[in-house]
Every structure is written in C-alpha cells, then in structure tokens.
Assembly symmetry: C2
Homo-oligomer: 418 residues x 2
C-alpha cells in the first residue's frame, strides 16, 4: 500500500471545525488508496498558553518539565483527529511520542531524532488501520522523559516519519498555498512555484521565507523526501501547492527561482583590526558564544593600512538588529581582555538583506552582474555582497528593500512561468 505523510499546523487544527476540515483532506487521500500518517500540531494558541504558564511558574524552568507540560497540546489534537476520522468510518488511532516510540536525544526543548522504529505502527496498518495520527513536536529520551524538538518541530516530525516509512510524499498543510517567487505582499507579480529544489528551498527558508523550517528541509534533502506545501483552507488536489523535491525532478529551471529578503539587519564594521592568523576566530568565537547569529562576513584592507607598522584590516559582518547590543558587548569584552584590538566599531542599524536564489546559477554566468545592474538602475547602493553556489545576497539600506525586491523580480522575469 502506498503511504503518504500529511502534516497539519496549529492554524489548520485551531478548532473542532478545522480539525474536521483537515480530516476531510485525509479522507480524500485514503479514498485515493493511500495509508496515511498524519502529524498534528497543538491547536493554535494552546502551546503559547502552556509556555506562558511554565514561564510564569518558573522563569529558569527545568526543560524536562517544560517538555512534559508543553507536549500535552499535541496529544489533545492527535486524539481529537483520530476521533474525527473514526466518525468518518476511517480506522484510525492516535500515537503519542512515547507510544511509537519516537526516540530522541535528551536535549530537552531542542531534541534530535535518534530512531523511529516502524514495528508498532506497521502492525496497526497490518490490522487494517488506514491512518496513524502522530502527536508532532515530541519524542522520548533514553531516560524515558518526554522531549520536544523546538520551533518547527512538527514539520521535522513529518519529514522524519516520511523518511522512516518511505512515504511517497510528505504534504505540509499550512496557511499559505505554496512557495512564491517572492513575498506577494511586496509585489503582486509574485508567482506560485510548481516545483522548487531542496537546495533552493533551503536558501529561501534560511533567508526569511517562513513557510518551512530550515531543519525540516535539510532532513528532507538528506533522505530525499518529496515535500509538498499547500493550504489547508483551500480545496486541494494532487496538483495543488508547491513540490519541494530533488533538482532531477525539475526539468527546466530558470536561472533564478526566487527573491528572498530579511528586513531587520545590521552591518557592523571593526575598523583597523590587526591582520594576523587566527584573528577571524578571535572575533567570531566570542560572538558565537554570545548567541549572535553572524550572517555575511567581509574582510578588506583598511584604508588606514599605510600609516600602521603592523598589517591591519577592516572586518565587516551582518547580524539581526536585535542582536547588536549583545554583539557590541561581546566585542568590547574581547578587546578589554586583550584578545583582539580595533580602533572603532561602526554600527549601521538601517540595513536589509535581499537575495536571489536559483540552482540555474551554477551553469549561468552573469547573474551577479544582472543583479547589480538592476539595483544600480534604481539607485540602490550595495553595502555588502555575499555569494554561495546558488545564491547572491546584498546588504542595502532598509528603505530600499521593497524597491529592490520588485526590481529583481522584474529583472529575472519571475512573473513568467519557467
């Protein structure tokens, strides 16, 4: 029997009516001949309520108790979903993490999968059950305590089950109807993609497109799990949404697939840093320890280099605006401790990042030139450039962000289908 994994997020199971609506989508797949593993989140708002209670009880809470409390939200949805399916005469039962058992590490609040043994669920499918409803976001540690997986954990649960059960596909039902060439709120020309490769999705996910969590896409890429993102609020069929898949499945792809952005970025420059082996580690080690998510890094010869007896350089990097204070503190501490030296720390808190992403870049030259030219035509000044094999990112003034996204979307003709 072919098998499908279907995942429903919090807004898709926010109340009993939406749970029924989601169950209808499961029924449609059962009628198409699939066995189905359904992964559910907590009803929207529930997890926040539970997290709030834990925080109010104990500001520095024991993560094991946090997990025991917070995981209860998914258990409720799983039971209600199983009951709803039973009402439709579909043989179904719920599974809590420890019942499968979903084996994870002991890192409470951020556990990672160790194994998902198939035996218990396979046995139920063997008895004629059509649907296994799994409480997402949770597992059980080697010590027998309940663990949770951290943000986006239900997506990750879905992909992990799809891999373990060799599912034909993993459908992620959410509140948007697919992956777009860019944010439709910024340009109405944004177009829904029929397919996108794992690599591209990964760049888009980590660049601020919030539809799928990075970790779930990484896992899908590693195990070649075909992911489909689609809306739980629309009528859907087998062609709905966007398929995230191996690039081999994408016949002809455009050079650029999408334009991503991240609005609240800051640019920090350490001016006149001593240029010696190990200086990068001396700078970025303390930043990492302080929990600063450093993104783009550029090192260039200082303009002041000539007047110095030792070789000096300038070191520029970007990070989210709300981490600037932390970054400053970490750098000043490192200087006070004598680990690094610099003349000044320049901070520009008015930056945004815009990126073009596409696997086609690998075989096409001139993408960067086309990007810079499109931005220049609109008078947008580029502060920092960073590139990867399938992505070019630029840091620009925040006020130009929407303009830049629109200009790039036009320049690469993303409104036109492949």
């Amino acid at each position: 029997m072919p098998l499908l994994v279907m995942k429903f997020g919090g807004t898709s199971v926010a109340d009993l009516e939406r749970i029924r609506n989601a169950a209808e989508k499961v029924r449609a797949e059962v009628e198409r001949g699939y066995d189905v593993i359904v992964i559910v989140s907590a009803m929207a708002g529930r997890t926040n309520e539970l997290v709030g209670w834990v925080g109010a009880t104990s500001p520095l809470y024991d993560a094991r108790e946090y997990d025991a409390v917070v995981s209860s939200g998914e258990n409720v949805t799983a039971g209600l979903m199983a009951l709803t399916l039973q009402e439709m005469d579909i043989p179904a039962r719920s599974w809590q993490g420890w019942q499968v058992p979903i084996q994870t590490t002991s890192q409470h609040g951020a556990a990672r999968f160790v194994d998902i043994p198939r035996a218990n669920i396979d046995a139920k499918f063997g008895e004629g059950f059509k649907v296994a409803v799994i409480a997402g976001f949770q597992g059980v540690s080697p010590e027998g305590r309940i663990t949770t997986l951290g943000r986006g954990g239900s997506d990750t649960t879905a992909v992990a089950f799809a891999a373990a059960f060799e599912a034909e596909r993993c459908d992620i039902y959410t509140d948007v109807d697919g992956i777009y060439t860019t944010d439709p709120r910024i340009t109405s020309k944004a177009r829904k993609l029929e397919k996108i490769s794992f690599e591209e999705m990964l760049e888009l996910a980590s660049l601020g497109a919030k539809v799928l969590q990075t970790r779930s896409v990484e896992l899908a890429m590693r195990y070649k799990v075909r992911l489909r993102v689609l809306s739980s609020f629309d009528d859907t069929d087998e062609t709905s949404g966007t398929l995230v898949c191996d690039e081999d499945e994408i016949m002809e792809s455009k050079v650029v697939s999408g334009v991503a952005y991240s609005r609240e970025e800051a640019k920090l420059t350490l001016v006149t840093v001593e240029d010696r082996p190990g200086i990068a580690a001396a700078i970025f080690g303390p930043l990492a320890d302080a929990g600063v998510n450093v993104d783009m890094i550029v090192q260039n010869i200082s303009e002041d280099a000539q007047g110095h007896d030792k070789p000096v350089t300038d070191m520029t990097f970007s990070c989210p605006v709300d981490q600037v204070a932390r970054a400053r503190k970490a750098l000043e501490a490192a200087r006070d401790a004598g680990h690094i030296s610099y003349e000044t720390l320049q901070v520009d808190e008015d930056a945004a990042k815009v990126s073009v992403v596409g696997i086609g870049m690998r075989s096409h030259a001139g993408v960067a030139a086309r990007m810079f030219s499109a931005l220049a035509q609109e008078g947008v000044n580029i502060k920092v450039i960073a590139t990867s094999e399938i992505k070019i990112s630029v840091l620009i003034d925040r006020k130009y962000m929407e303009l830049a996204v629109q200009a790039l979307h036009d320049a690469f003709e993303l409104d036109k289908a492949g």
Copy 2:
C-alpha cells in the same frame, strides 16, 4: 524516611496561584521530614473542556482516544506543580501514568489498578528527590494505551499510591475542611468530625456525601490507608480536617456519627406480583441490565392476597428519580415477555432518603426506635425502611427532608462532641 501522599483536586490547582498555595502545603510536610508523593487533578474546568471537545467530535467516542485526550489535563498540572516545587528549591519531578508505570486494566474510562511498581520512584527518592508529582486519574493498559479511572479517579490514585508506598497517611486536600455530622447547609449545628471509621465513611459516601468517592474509601479500608480530608484553602496543620481510619483508632465513638441524605429518590411498587421462587431475580435482573441503581427493596404480603388463587406479594423498591422512566420501560418489557406479572406499577417521585450511620449501632439497641420516634414527633411519615449493621435508612416525603435531618441531628445530639 517517612512518606506522605498528598492529593489536590481540581479547585485546589485551578490556577498558578492555587498551585503555589498547594505547593506551600507540600513544602511544610517536606520540612517536617517527609518524602512526599503528590497526586494532582487537572486544573478546574480543563477536564470538562476536553470532555466537551471529545463529545462534540464523536458522540459515541472510542474510549481509548477519550482517555488519551482527557488525561492531558493532569499532565499539565503535574509538570507545573513540579516546576513550582523546584522554584522553592525542593527537588521534585513529574510522573505521567506510563512513566511510573501505573499499570491498569484495559477498561478505558473505568480502568482498575493492576500494579504500581515502586522501583522508578524509589530510585529517585534514593537520589535525593523529595517529591514525586503524579498525574492522577490515569494509567497505562497492557496494550500500552493510556487509561483513565473514571470519576473520582484522582482520589483512588492517591489511596493506591499510599498503599503501594506504605505511606504514613494520605491527605486529600479539597474545598471543604472535613467530614461533618451532616450537611452544614441543612443545619448550622452540623459539627466537623475529628475522626470517622472507614465503614461509616463508606456509608456516608454512598449515601450522598460527596467529599470522598466510594471507591477510594473502599480501597483505603482494604489496605488500611489512613485518609485525612482537609481544606486546601485554609491554613492547616497536623490536626486539621477529619481523619478516616480504622475503628480501632477511634477510642470512644457515639452511637450515631452522622446523618446523610439523598434528595431525588423515587419509590416504585409492583402491586400483586406472583410470589414464587426466583421472582426477585426476574424483577431486578432486567432493572440492573437497564442500568437502574436500585437501592432499598421491601417485599410484603399484598393486601389483595386473599382474592387470588396463587400466592401474591407486593414488591417495593427505590431508585434515583431520573431513572424512573428507564425502570418503567424495563419492567413493562419483562411483563410483555411473560417473565413477570403484576397488576399495577405505582410510582412515587416525591421521595427523599435520610439515613443515620454509626458503628456504635452494633452494640447499642434502640437506635431505630429513637430514630422513628424523632421523625414521628415531627409528623414525618416513613414510606420504606432499610437497615444494615451500621446504618438505618428511611424513605420519606421529599418536602420533609430538611426537617428530618435536623430532627435526627438533634435526637442523636450530634452537635456535641463524642
């Protein structure tokens, strides 16, 4: 280390502040030198919400899924209680039913204990933990599914743990401050009892005093678990509340300990029933099958006996008013099927039951006479009488119920201490 079981019901853990208040009571016992097992209910209102969702999803629900959903309420409280205790620097952790594991039968929604292995919890006490917080009302079946114990399940969990861990005492914290000689809403002369025997408590519990569930008292009696009922909203110490204990612990007891009542009773009489061996089974079998809780039964010679060729009798019984329709249907069906015969079914729906309870009755004659005389003085007519070794119950007109309770409370001088 001496060990105490403390149980907090739903109103005692209704919000974070009340959980803190309950935790303070636990702290006091830890400071007195006890290891403590805390049993918690769901926060007040939560279980009803979950039950409501299940009922709205599936009117004839799968009891296994019901249990999976409804048990989540206790899991939340257990985690929050453990966190609250940790904040007070008391080493504590939460235990869900499957983690102990609390082994039960597979009767979902009404499971019974099979075993509570001590090893896991004892090991934690051995590591220096002072408190084990247990999610009440739940267990795990031999099939690995979550079970619940039915109404009052958390009280039963508390008693079962007290038995398994040979606790010095099992303290049931609730919203009343003890067991009274009768309902204080009916007479202000009602007096709180310092001690009451298991047998008396059992009669009072099954007669309508709602403080403790019958099943938990039965269990306590069987395993000689000393139960204390006390208020979670008052300042309490080791002498607070009422101790439910073996009668050996009660030095001198009054002939009557309390007056109980049940307001909504009905009296049904089958007139001119054929009097033959097996007739009682032929009548009460179908009633039991129909779920009618028959209470008092009286059989007497029919006034019409003389005119019949076969021996005939009248059969009178009582049951809750809301079961009368069911009883009538069952009896008519039995007559239509030819299993019983009767001339008429007389139904009196305006009855109430009043009982006096006391282990002293065993050794004192004249209690019944004193009871009937007190009622006669107030002009209260007795419809049916039933007696057990430590109880005398009468069925009377409902409108005299309060009057009867007050008169009996006075007659047996229950306002005066032993």
